[in-house]
Symmetry: C2
Subunit: 134 residues, 2 copies
DNA sequence: ATACTTGTTCAAGTACACATGAAGTCAAGG
DNA sequence: CCTTGACTTCATGTGTACTTGAACAAGTAT
């Protein structure tokens, strides 16, 4: 009687049932009760899903998210968990950010390109180069 | 006698031979001459590789790079090629950039976290939320 | 002649986060 | 009883840019 079906949870959470099964298999969601084989969730699953969503927004991989959720003593407070993972993740995000900003530079330089041959582009728009002026 | 072996080109370009074969199969590099089955490159391959490197720096996928290189009439000047591809790529890069900046926000908020439970984190550090102050 | 090095092709593996399809189970409705 | 619909598990597919391994060929050195 009580307990939400997987499709009900998925619908409310904006996910697909396969994602919920995947999270469970990946150790992000605890295995819920079963009624004749079918999963029955209680409302606390939504809090869990919200944390997973937050971890995803932080750029954590599934493995990192699993560590974040289950990789500590059960009573470990969130700040300790964050510090353990976010500190390691920030440099990676920043590196990605630098790469993307570099892409922007190259693309904008490309849009201002007046080269006559592609080889000329390669010389002028070098990745590492300081190409400011036309 | 003339012509560089695949390993010589790879070494000078900072790539591995497998990458050169891959580029060739992907249509980024023209098939070079062969001497008893082995590839022999001439020096122009380095210009080509420089352009490929530039395209990669712009964030182009292999398919986009192939279009950039071979998807136009042979005499199409670089500016036309750039405009066709860079204009489509920039919004994607910017979207990626926004996502990464969001990650940074979440990670930094996580580092300042003082929540007592993970569910609290999810409520306070919501992805879309305006979480400025402690 | 024989071993070594370097090359060749082709198939399959890598990481990530799920989606998809096949085949079977289960309860309710007609 | 039989169909329908939602569910189950398990294996495989998706996209990207290569790398790696297997099995084999050919030129070079000893």
């Amino acid at each position: 009687m009580d307990g939400l079906t997987i499709s009900a949870v998925a619908r409310q959470a904006g996910l697909r049932p396969s994602a919920l099964r995947y999270y469970e298999a990946a150790g992000l969601l605890p295995a819920p009760a079963r009624v004749s084989g079918r999963r029955r969730y209680d409302a606390t699953v939504f809090e869990r899903l919200a944390v997973i969503r937050l971890a995803q927004a932080a750029g954590f991989t599934i493995a990192e998210t699993r560590t974040f959720l289950n990789g500590f003593a059960p009573d470990t407070p969130p700040p300790d968990r964050w510090r353990a993972l976010a500190a390691a993740k920030l440099p990676a995000v920043d590196a990605q950010l630098v790469r993307l900003l570099g892409m922007r530079q190259v693309l904008e330089a490309g849009l201002r390109c007046e080269c006559l041959a592609l080889a000329e582009c390669a010389r002028r728009l070098s990745t590492d180069g300081a190409t400011d002026q036309v």
